[in-house]
Amino acid sequence: MKPWLPSLLRLALVVLLVAFVTNPGWFEPLLKPLTENNAPVIYNQGSLLTLTLLHLRTVLIATVAATIVAVALAILVTRPAGAEFLPLSRSLVNIGQTFPPVAVLALAVPAVGFGERPTLIALFLYGLLPIFENALTGLTTLPANVVEAARGAGMTGWQRLIKVELPLSAPIILGGIRLSVVISLATATIGSTVAARTLGEVIIAGLLSNNLAFVLQGGLIVAALAVLIYDGLSAIERYTARRMGREAE
């Protein structure tokens, strides 16, 4: 494969995605064969652009919150004071992963009502696990000689954490964030079953009115977003890994 081909494909995908969410009318002839009985081809109960931005906002808020909490927790259990929580936190992460997102979503509704909030809770809980697991891996597999050198240079525990341990773990933590974002992008669509405004709205409208064009456009936008964000984060991850001289997973 030519080295410039992937970049070109990526660029084409970005252009297509932007064109689709801003001017979906252009693509009407392509999707037309998927509809029956003159049903609308392009989602007509809200603009695709607004829904895409709302979708991204939901994922962004949940991921930022999950990253802060997960990294803080991982730091806590890898300090001497929190070391006794390490095995327990590992088993809790394992147990947490067995909760299906739909169940979390539905059970959050009575506590916080319909709309964006139950979705944020479900995405937050789901996002926590991969980030926490990777942060833990990153912080517990630091090269021992580097940590010793930092200690020998007279750095305090806090200085070591900020200047040595966290930068060295950054590529692995970023890997966790990438996984978590991709899962969240897809899971956010389920949020529309409890009335959150995400691209899931388009898909569910399509399922309810038997309109395949809706299902396809909602699904493709989410998939394109996921592929692009996955790619972008992988690139950042490789860059930091090179700078830290540490191979990402």
């Binding site: 067995t98 299906p100 169940a103 539905a106 059970l107 992008l185 395949l212 396809l216 998939a223």
Partner: protein, 387 residues
């Protein structure tokens, strides 16, 4: 001897104190969808039982709060959980007015927080005990038997989640078996296709990147969209391929759900097969070749057994993920426990949501524990054999 605080115990004691004294234990509602009224432990239980439960909670929280022997902590968490499980049923019977079939009693936030706190304690003890795989499966069986006994004895019959169950007992088991069939069937199909595909990818390097990329992209398609997109092709197959409709292949229903779960399952199975086979030590392969084993003998006699724990890890991921994803099949008429979840969300009847969600979580949890135990057993066996 001086008493020292246990760090986790401080958290557990704080949660239990709040839950026992400040949060509602049970909720009383005149019918299934009106807002409920909170009842504390003392209000929700008959005269002597309320203070007794409080005493048990305080005692167990104290055991957790200080550094105490593991056996004592295990007993404290087990007794507290058992008392909570028994007495929430008593509260159901006590709070239901005689002869009233509309009133609903459900566990409230205080009850759930207490369950959470003491499950945390139990999880901590079990983690620290470092149980063998068999013992963990044994603990799971004991817990399942205890819950089964409580269900059969009828002591929970007056709780609203079981009232929802009695209204749809037949469909509950039908949807349940559909759910399990979907999750296990698609897993079996993914293993049958994914293992050979993984072995092929291991040997043919040019195929590897392509196959894994395609499977990766499938994972990014949101589940509800993939379920929906399969409706059209399967509908076409049903009407155009003779005999397909007779096999139960239809545009909506179980068939698209099955295919979607199968597609999602392929990536972990194929990827883990590739990783597992790549991790087989070169020395083992060379030795096998030196002994004059054919490629086929090497695959089944050496590479496959050595890669097995990694492949099993992929299967565990798939099974837990499928049990959760199968709930979404309900959106396209594929059945499963999701039916109750989405009906409940639609009617804002949370007990109905629980009727769908609780068995799903329990199934996923049990599957995770059992497969983790199996993985550990095969991994240790391998280490013993290679040592």
């Amino acid at each position: 001897m001086t008493l020292r605080f246990d760090k986790l115990g401080v958290v557990i004691a704080a949660i239990s104190a709040y839950a026992a004294f400040a949060a509602p234990f049970a909720t009383f509602r005149a019918n299934r969808i009106v807002p409920g009224q909170a009842r504390s432990i003392i209000e929700a239980l008959p005269a002597a039982t309320g203070p007794m439960l409080l005493a048990i909670i305080v005692a167990a929280a104290l055991v957790a709060l200080f550094r105490t022997p593991l056996a004592l902590r295990l007993a404290a968490s087990a007794v507290a959980l058992a008392a909570l499980a028994l007495l929430i049923g008593v509260a159901g019977t006590f709070l239901t007015p005689a002869g009233n079939t509309f009133a609903r009693i459900s566990p409230a936030s205080g009850f759930w927080s207490l369950i959470f706190a003491f499950t945390l304690l139990l999880a901590d003890v079990l983690t620290r005990l470092n149980l063998s795989p068999w013992a963990r499966v044994g603990a799971l069986v004991v817990a399942a038997l205890a819950i089964g006994l409580l269900l059969i004895s009828g002591s929970w019959d007056n709780l609203s989640i079981l009232k929802e169950y009695f209204n749809r007992a037949d469909s509950f088991w039908a949807e349940g078996s559909k759910h399990v069939t979907l999750a296990l069937g698609s897993l079996a199909a993914a293993v049958i296709v994914g293992l050979p595909l993984g072995i092929l990818c291991h040997h043919v390097e040019r195929l590897r990147a392509g196959v894994l990329n395609v499977l990766n992209i499938i994972q990014t398609i949101p589940s509800i969209a993939l379920f929906g997109l399969l409706i059209a092709p399967l509908g076409w197959v049903a009407t155009h391929v003779p005999g397909a409709a007779a096999l139960g292949i239809r545009g909506i229903g179980t068939a698209p759900a099955f295919v979607a779960l199968f597609l999602y399952s392929l990536l972990p199975v194929v990827a883990n097969t590739v990783v597992g086979l790549a991790g087989v030590p070169r020395a083992a392969n060379d030795a096998a070749r030196g002994m004059g084993m054919t490629d086929r003998q090497r695959l089944f006699g050496v590479e496959f057994p050595l890669a097995f724990p990694v492949i099993l890890t992929g299967i565990r991921i798939v099974l837990v993920q499928n049990i959760g994803l199968a709930t979404i099949a309900a959106l396209i008429g594929g059945g499963g426990f999701g039916v109750f979840v989405f009906q409940g969300v639609g009617q804002t009847a949370m007990d109905l949501v629980l009727l769908g969600a609780v068995p799903t979580v329990a199934l996923a949890f049990a599957a995770a524990i059992i497969l983790d135990a199996v993985i550990e057993m095969t991994a240790t066996k391998r280490r013993v054999e290679t040592a």
